[in-house]
Amino acid sequence: MADGNVLLVEGKDDQFVLKHLTRNHGIPEDSFKIKPKDGISVLLDTLDVELLASDVQRLGIVVDADLDIASRSVLA
């Protein structure tokens, strides 16, 4: 089940932060896979294919919201 849960993040820093955040909250490490991308643009450009992964059950995304929000949308 855990294999099918994926959380996409912008990069390695976010992966690190989220790993610790989940650990501090007692969430088992294998609950979902945290997959770092090489920046927000790569994350957005590859999102449609991540959704087509044959083993994905749930897909979550974490992106920075301290910048121009409109530019961080797939629709932008």
């Binding site: 991308k37 450009d45 590859t46 449609d48 294919v49 991540e50 087509l52 992964a53 044959s54 083993d55």
Partner: protein, 396 residues
């Protein structure tokens, strides 16, 4: 050859889309776009081989001999029953029901199954299960349930095979002549079609395909492909051995019978640099043998369709990209549309790499998967495939 030279010449392909209805595992499978080279993936049992069967049947305009071959390769072909007059017996024995989705017994107007371009019924192959009765010197199709009830003891099951308004063949299944290969000529192929099984071509087919290209330029294509694995391949040929009588049990032609038939052993042999005597192709390994089958089939499928089951079989991952480059090159040059299945991630990566630099429009991957009990197709074009391989996304 340089990548730029390989740009598609824009020749049209036999099938630009595909819809398969009521055929085996497919209730209604739609593939909205087909490319020149199509790689088919998916988990076991989602119908990768079935898709190849559908294409083979379509290309051969539903030829009954192909139907028999398809059933035979899946061990579903029982000897066709002699007509007993009892419908239950006939139904139980009748293997043709396996052609239809749901596998229910053949009834009146069962199906039809159909295979063809999306939204173009007049260009699609249509096959329905029917009942027939003898009228004069001909067979007549049973029209409705009332007629079936009335003629109950006189009917035989069969298939009605049609395409558009000007092609229709009724094949009652107790007619002796259609159990021989003779009926094949009744079906003008939609496109030339060559099929390569997962374990390669059989000896007869290999020899037949070789004979049709020997001493032509196409021989070079075959040689080139063998050199992907071993640079030392100089020449290739097929020997003609002594004739001998072989006892064989013939199931494909209906009632089981034993026959002694003359057969000639024909063995592919290869001249290698540095060796004075030729060696058998078999002795060079499974990969070489499979490659020989693929390349031979490819050049023989000129202006037609090539189907390859488990294309990567026995072929080391390090040469797969070269293999795909060669397949793409020949497909464009010889105007062949290709459908190949695979389970291998290496194969998908090699396929994706071979498509780069000018061939992006010529290839795509088709994934079959089960969704809410139905099998559906998801398409991966060059960009999606490149994202999947770069970002390590499991798309099989």
């Amino acid at each position: 050859m340089e990548a730029q030279v390989l740009q598609s010449v824009g020749a049209s392909i036999p099938l630009e889309s595909l819809e398969v209805r009521d055929f085996r595992a497919f209730e209604d499978l739609r593939v909205e776009r087909l490319a020149r080279v199509n790689l088919i993936v998916g988990k076991n049992g989602v119908g990768k081989s079935t898709l190849l069967e559908a294409l083979r049947l379509y290309a051969n305009r539903g030829a009954f001999s192909i139907i028999q071959k398809i059933l035979y390769t899946r061990d579903e072909e029982a000897p066709l029953p002699a007509f007993s007059g009892k419908q239950e017996t006939v139904n139980k024995l009748l293997p043709i029901k396996y052609l239809f989705h749901g596998r229910e017994d053949i009834g009146l107007h069962r199906g039809p199954l159909s295979i063809g371009p999306v939204g173009r019924p007049e260009e699609s192959l249509s096959i329905s299960g029917e009942f027939y009765y003898v009228k004069g010197r001909d067979y007549e199709r049973v029209k409705d349930d009332d007629e079936l009830k009335k003629l109950r003891k006189k009917v035989v099951p069969g298939l009605s095979i049609s395409m558009g308004s000007d092609f229709r063949i009724d094949q009652p299944l107790d007619k002796e002549d259609l159990q021989t290969g003779a009926a094949f000529s009744l079906y003008p192929p939609v496109a030339r079609c060559v099929f390569v099984f997962a374990d390669g071509l059989d000896m007869d087919e290999t020899a037949e395909l070789w004979d049709s290209i020997v001493l032509t330029d196409l021989e070079n294509d075959v040689l080139k492909s063998l050199r992907i694995i071993d640079q030392n391949v100089e020449r290739v040929n097929i020997t003609t051995g002594a004739m001998r009588l072989v006892e064989r049990t013939e199931v494909a032609r209906g009632p089981r019978r034993r026959e002694r038939e003359p057969e000639v052993d024909r063995v592919p042999i290869v001249k290698m640099t540095g060796l004075s005597e030729p060696v058998t192709l078999m002795s060079l390994g499974d990969g070489m043998n499979h490659l020989f089958g693929i390349s031979l089939a490819l050049v023989n499928a000129k202006d037609g369709i090539l189907l390859i089951d488990e294309v990567e079989n026995g072929i080391h991952y390090s040469v797969q990209q070269q293999l795909w480059r060669l397949i793409f090159d020949a497909a464009v040059r010889l105007n062949v549309q290709i459908f190949a299945t695979t389970h291998s991630w290496d194969c998908i990566e090699a396929f994706q790499k071979a498509m780069q630099h000018g061939l992006e429009q010529d290839g795509q991957m088709i994934r079959l998967q089960r969704e809410d009990g139905r099998i559906v197709a998801t398409l991966f074009d060059a960009r999606k495939l490149s994202v999947a391989t770069r970002e390590d996304i499991e798309v099989r």
